[in-house]
């Protein structure tokens, strides 16, 4: 094994170097660090990096788990516990034999229970290789320097022992069963909860499939009913009428158009909304009277209007644009309007039908306060750290929310409850409604006294009083830590968990509230039923999309710049189109009727745009003519499409700026799609430059560089997968030759169960991935972690097994997987229910 000792470890930390530059010349992004799939001992290896990243507050927390550096009492206790547990194992004769050899030959460097030894091999001896693979490796390389001391049957015995005792994931689960940790709201959960709290008395928009905006065309500028000349759905707002009437029967000198509907946001982030207009318009966004851009006065030659706003992916923002050509004594300008945006990717483009809906949406709240990013040390966001920055951001968020309530919701409530306005009864009821939703519990007398009555008594001004109450309420542990609802009845807890898991939010949804009231949340079937009704909620869609981002690690591919000489015209707008194409392809697969996971790897079509079609041609041409106002269109069917596997955004992202990178692709396939562990390289390497070896293909060059034995232990796996995608060049364009030589896309993979699979190219690989148990498990695990934000094993050691089984049985239906995750994640709350029920029955 390619263990390193601290003398060679430049970071000087115990365990693996924290952010070691990967040998392949990639940036020191930490990508090459192993990503734990479940909370096992492997997670603890992150201690050093975490310590740096999160500061001492987190370090305190980590010390509980036994971070390897600076041995603490807790760590010693934990190792003692390990010894105790392992000593009680019942071993087979072969394993016993292995244990003896291990104690004699291995323990000095690896520790008596595989915990690692300072100055020798520091990382704990855990991983996902099969017994056969371990045995082979021990046979060839161990002990370091004198492998002849342990060969053949001895190596096999050692492999069997360590695999069973502590190396395998099963052993780790047994030794340190993961628990669900107390977590606070993630940034997304905080934003979404506030948005839903704001809209708690409104209906929630659901995905309808309709696209575009409702448009009403009026003769004259006053929008009189009798002057309505056309009513239709416009796919987008992108018109240049000149001096012509926009529709028949309208005087081009004086008309008005009202567009209304909703803005659907594909990803959370800062958007710059841009309107180009030669005429007067008023633009409302986010709520009835919320003025977003006011160009009531058309003045001079000002025709461009911009404004930035943070938008949340799970929301639909009501949108209304009143456009007016006014009659005037002077020359009337040509009429033109375009609604565009620059999404977080920064590339400005018209807002297309795919992001617009012709039906309205209730007023919503979008937090503008910046929030510090969540802890991602476990490979997915979760709220396990508190920092001063986070604490202050939650204050700022509470104040911003309170101000929105003061401006909009309180006046609205007052209008509806005029009878109660006196002696602040209405205010009390209004605040109690908000707080009990935020705190996930009805307020008892003590809470009401503390959070409402005392605050109101202290402040005669209503607006100020609201601020006090909401600041206290939104900083209370009951809002920030969702699982503190342990004292609540099972139906309420189940609804809380369901809202958190599926919606990243509070159970303000009518469907959930009704279910709580009728206590229809006890059985699996009841949870399934309600979870299915939530699937067409925009928040579930957004959360699923974010899950897929994480699964494919897309955030790390955002900067796709390529050698302009080799790839002229490969520019940022094209990259933005490719990204959009991939994201919409994923969406389309998940939310199609069959919702079939296998299509991620087998679908023979993709989504294209005019830019992509012009650049990639051939199988990227649209199957049907382009539709006005839409950005993407299905391509023709082609055997060259294999779902996401052959998508240029992914393949281009997993490549250098001038050549492919089979290693990046191989690491991606191994780690993300197959969920396997890869150790970081022993030393930092720079990739061999293509210029130094002008006659070698990329494959030959990579083989050359990774040929040493100590590279091969990992690269034999990585390269063998990466090479299968060599038919796609550095921008993901199909090719059959490189430097005049035919591409050799052959490769292989050894599964967790030790089975060897051969491929000859992307199509073979795709076929394998679609059914591979390793890949399915990786997907299911990732989905569970993303939705629940806890390790699946914390919900029972066989949680993933159960989910995989049901996933298969459903025909790999992703939407059903999401439902089943909700079922599993709510089981502890519901079991409490059954316990109570049975106790009551006994009594």
């Amino acid at each position: 094994m390619n263990g390193k000792n601290s003398a060679q470890n430049p970071s000087g930390n115990r365990g693996w170097p924290s952010w070691r530059a990967c040998g392949i010349g990639c940036s020191p992004c930490g990508e090459c660090l192993p990503r734990p799939i479940i909370l096992t001992a492997r997670d603890y290896q992150y201690g050093d990096a975490l310590r740096v990243a999160l500061g001492m507050g987190m370090a305190l927390l980590l010390s509980l788990f036994g971070v390897p550096s600076e041995p603490t009492r807790a760590e010693e206790d934990s190792i003692a516990a390990l010894r105790q547990a392992i000593s009680q194992l019942e071993l087979t004769p072969i394993q016993r034999h292995g244990a003896e050899i291990y104690a004699n030959l291995c323990a000095d460097c690896h520790g008596d229970v595989g915990q690692g030894v300072e100055g020798a091999f520091e990382a704990p001896l855990v991983g996902d290789e099969s017994i056969g693979q371990l045995a082979d490796r021990i046979h060839r390389t161990m002990p370091e320097g004198s492998p002849e001391e342990c060969e053949g049957e001895d190596a096999q015995a050692v492999a069997e022992y360590i695999h069973y005792a502590f190396y395998s994931e099963a052993a780790q689960l047994r030794l340190r069963p993961p628990k669900a940790l107390l977590t606070h709201l993630t940034t997304t959960q905080l934003r979404q909860s506030l948005a839903d709290l704001f809209a708690m008395d409104s209906w929630m928009p659901t995905v309808s499939g309709e696209q575009g905006l409702k448009a009403e065309y009026y003769n004259g500028e006053r929008r009189k009913k009798e002057e309505l000349k056309a009513e239709r759905v416009d796919p987008a707002i992108d018109f240049d009428w000149g001096r012509d009437p926009p529709v028949e029967g309208i005087d081009p000198d004086e008309f008005s158009i009202l567009w209304s509907g909703g803005l659907v946001v594909p990803e959370s982030g800062e958007y710059e909304i841009v309107v180009h207009s030669t005429c007067s318009f008023m633009f409302y966004l986010g709520g009835g009277g919320r003025e977003f851009i006011n160009n009531h006065v058309q003045s001079g030659d000002k025709t461009e209007f911009r404004r930035k706003i943070y938008l949340l992916a799970g929301s639909v923002y009501p949108l209304r644009i009143e456009f007016r050509q006014r009659k005037r004594k002077t020359e009337i300008p040509p009429a033109r309007i375009q609604l565009a945006w620059a999404p977080p990717d920064g590339v400005e483009r018209p807002i297309s039908a795919e992001n617009l809906v012709p039906h309205g949406a209730p007023a919503t709240f979008s937090l503008q306060t910046p929030l510090p990013p969540d802890d991602r040390s476990y490979g997915y966001e979760r709220g396990i750290g508190v920092s001063r920055q986070w604490e202050e951001a939650t204050t700022a968020a509470a104040i911003e929310f309170a101000e929105a309530i003061i401006d909009e919701k309180w006046p609205e409530y007052q209008r509806r409850h005029r009878d109660k306005v006196k002696d602040r009864q209405a205010l009390k009821e209004f605040l109690e409604q908000l707080l009990s939703a935020a705190m996930r519990r009805p307020l008892d007398d003590a809470l009401r006294q503390r959070y409402i009555d005392n605050q109101l008594a202290a402040e005669p001004d209503d607006a100020e009083a609201i601020k006090r109450v909401l600041l206290a309420g939104l900083k209370s542990p009951f809002f920030l830590y969702p699982s503190l609802d342990i004292d609540q009845p099972p139906a309420a807890r189940t609804a809380n968990q369901l809202a958190l898991v599926l919606l990243d939010s509070l159970p303000t949804d009518k469907r959930l509230r009704q279910a709580i009231e009728s206590e229809k949340l006890g059985t699996d079937e009841e949870v399934r039923r309600i979870a299915r009704t939530l699937l067409n909620d925009y928040r579930v869609r957004a959360k699923t999309r974010a899950m897929l981002h994480g699964w494919l690690n897309l955030d790390h591919l955002s900067d796709l710049s390529k050698d302009p000489e080799q790839f002229p015209g490969f520019d940022q707008p094209l990259v933005a189109d490719l990204r959009m194409s991939l994201l919409r392809l994923l969406d389309a697969i998940v939310w199609s009727e069959s919702s079939d996971y296998r299509k991620f790897f087998t679908l023979d079509r993709s989504l294209t745009t005019p830019r992509i079609a012009a650049y990639y041609g051939d199988h990227w041409l649209p199957a049907e003519p382009w539709k006005t106002g839409f950005e993407t269109q299905w391509t023709v069917s082609s055997p060259k499409h294999r779902g996401l596997l052959t998508h240029p955004f992914l393949l281009g992202g997993l490549a250098y700026h001038d050549s492919t990178s089979p290693i990046h692709r191989g690491v991606f396939l191994t780690r993300y799609l197959l969920g396997r562990v890869i150790r970081p390289p022993a030393e930092a390497f720079s990739p061999l430059s293509p210029d130094l070896h002008p006659d070698l293909t990329t494959r030959e060059r990579v083989e050359l560089q990774t040929s040493p034995e100590f590279c091969q232990s990992c690269h034999s796996k990585i390269n063998a997968l990466g090479f299968t995608l060599e038919n796609f060049d550095a921008i993901g364009r199909y090719r059959e030759t490189e430097r005049g030589k035919p591409i050799d896309p052959r490769g292989s993979y050894i599964t967790r169960t030790g089975e060897r699979v051969e491929f000859s190219g992307a199509a073979d690989l795709a076929k394998f991935l679609a059914e591979s148990d390793d890949a399915v498990r990786a997907f299911v695990t990732r989905a569970f972690q993303h939705f629940v934000k806890q390790p699946p094993a914390a919900f029972g050691a066989d949680t993933v097994d159960r989910l995989v089984e049901r996933f298969r049985a459903s025909g790999f239906k992703i939407s059903e997987l999401i439902v089943e995750i909700a079922v599993e994640a709510t089981r502890p709350m519901r079991q409490a229910n059954q316990e109570i029920a049975s106790t009551t029955a006994r009594q």
């Binding site: 927390l61 107390l182 006065v297 003045s299 000002k302 001063r388 604490e391 202050e392 001004d461 830590y481």
Partner: protein, 451 residues
């Protein structure tokens, strides 16, 4: 009484201020907010300017002094300023000569502080051609930029734009301040919003200080329900909160110690809605905020826009039920309307007088004399006279010594473009300019004889 108890009892911003005598300036300094003049020592005398707008013209016969020269008896409309006569300078014969697009009202308000034409646009007034926004920056924003560019005169906001009952629509009739061509600046006409802008951050920290204790109590309570591991996260969180609480206490303590520099945050009456009948109260609240913001040196320039061009307040508190603009169109022969218009304008003058008196009564912090000695209020109007829509003889009543003009007298310039007055103001503020607004009206230079 322990520190925490004291904090807990200190519930409102008013109480907080009363109890701890925190000065806005001191509080801001201590709370790490940008405040005060940010620069080093000042060489120049501190100068401030307030432009006050009232709409629809005046009744000239009851407004202008009969003759130039030292003030004797003021006419009815200016009576409220009688006590401050020696601080008052009236400038007759200054005319808004800007032509181009837009009706009289639009050009009246839109060119008043900018001295330049309106862009062609699609807003059609009662007559003339339609227009858009102003083609240039207004003098308040111009001077703010000058003052902010110099560390010696830089302040937290530079300028503040107050309003009273400005309709909730952005058009040429509702804006008089411009940050540049096509860039109208919206006035803040809600006193609570202005309060927020001025004191919001520190007040939020006060609120935070007083609710944190309740919150931490709950943290302690729920901790008992948790496992050892889970408790750790909450403990870290509570430690942070307690740390912040302690810092807030220290801030308040330190603020208490610097009581000598006292200018209190104004005490706004609660729950005042923006309604026609609340206009006197709203004006008072805004003026108090203005005085206090000057006291804290948050800004040296302010605009104070009461209603808007074509403003229609119904001054029922004066027994007048009709809207102001409607009345202003009545011929002089309508005695009832004529009398009401005098009363209305007198009411506006009372507001100016209130502001001037408050400044006169307040000693200049760290300087000589009163704040009024360092402030010039320029009360002006979109029109010279309502029913004729003339922009000749635009009312310009200057109160105070900020610009260093010789006050206590009436001047008549007999028909000069108001651009020249704008230039004089720039010059008096220490930032002379070869022209302001449309240079065609600036060829004769700043007005002379003011100082």
């Amino acid at each position: 009484m322990g520190k925490r108890e004291r904090l807990k009892e200190c519930h409102t911003r008013r109480e907080f201020v009363k109890r701890f005598g925190v000065s806005a300036a001191a509080a801001n300094l201590l709370m790490g907010l940008p405040s005060l003049s940010l620069g080093g020592t000042e060489k120049r005398r501190k100068q401030r300017l307030v432009f006050v707008f009232s709409p629809n013209g005046v009744i000239p016969a009851h407004f202008w002094p009969d003759q130039p020269g030292e003030h004797r008896e003021f006419k009815r409309i200016l009576q409220p300023l009688a006590d401050l006569r020696q601080h008052v300078l009236t400038l007759k014969g200054v005319c808004n000569k800007i032509k181009g697009d837009g009706d009289g009202h639009m050009r009246g308000i839109g060119c008043l502080l900018t001295g330049i034409e309106l862009f062609p646009g699609d807003i059609q007034g009662g007559s003339d051609t339609p227009a858009g926004w102003s083609m240039g920056i207004s003098i308040d924003q111009h001077l703010k930029n000058q003052l902010q560019a110099d560390p010696a005169t830089r302040t937290r906001f530079g300028s503040l734009e107050f309003g009273v009952m400005v309709p909730d629509r952005a058009d040429t009739w509702t804006r008089w301040s411009y940050a540049g061509p096509n860039q109208p600046v919206a006035p803040i006409d809600n006193p609570y919003e202005m309060f927020n802008k001025l004191y919001g951050q520190s007040r939020n920290r006060e609120i935070l200080a007083s609710v944190l204790d309740d919150v931490t109590e709950d943290f302690e309570r729920v901790k008992e329900l948790l496992s050892k591991e889970d408790r750790q996260l909450l403990e870290n969180h509570v430690d942070l909160v307690r740390g912040i609480e302690k810092e807030l206490q220290m801030e308040l303590e330190m603020a208490k110690r610097s009581e000598d520099n006292v200018h209190l945050v104004p005490d706004l009456p609660p729950n005042v809605d923006e309604e026609n009948d609340n206009m006197p109260l709203l004006t008072r609240m805004q003026m108090d905020l203005l005085v206090n913001s000057f006291l804290g040196d948050f800004a040296r320039i302010a605009t104070f826009q009461i209603t808007n061009s074509v403003g229609q307040p119904r001054m029922r508190w004066l027994g007048i039920d009709e809207g102001h603009h409607t009345l202003s169109h009545e011929p002089d022969s309508n005695e009832d309307a004529y009398e009401k218009l005098i009363k209305i304008n007198t009411w506006y003058c009372e507001q100016v007088a209130y502001l001037a008196k408050r400044l006169a009564e307040t000693p200049e912090p760290g300087g000589d004399g009163s704040m009024l000695d360092h402030t010039t209020i320029i009360w002006t109007n979109e029109l010279g006279k309502g029913n004729s829509h003339t922009r000749d003889n635009i009312p310009f009543v200057l109160v105070g010594g900020g610009l260093g003009f010789k006050t206590g007298r009436a001047l008549d310039f007999k028909n000069v473009p108001h651009n020249r007055l704008l230039m004089s103001i720039c010059e008096a503020m220490g930032h002379p300019t070869p022209s302001f607004g449309n240079p065609d009206y600036c060829t004769d230079g700043p007005l002379t004889g003011l100082a």
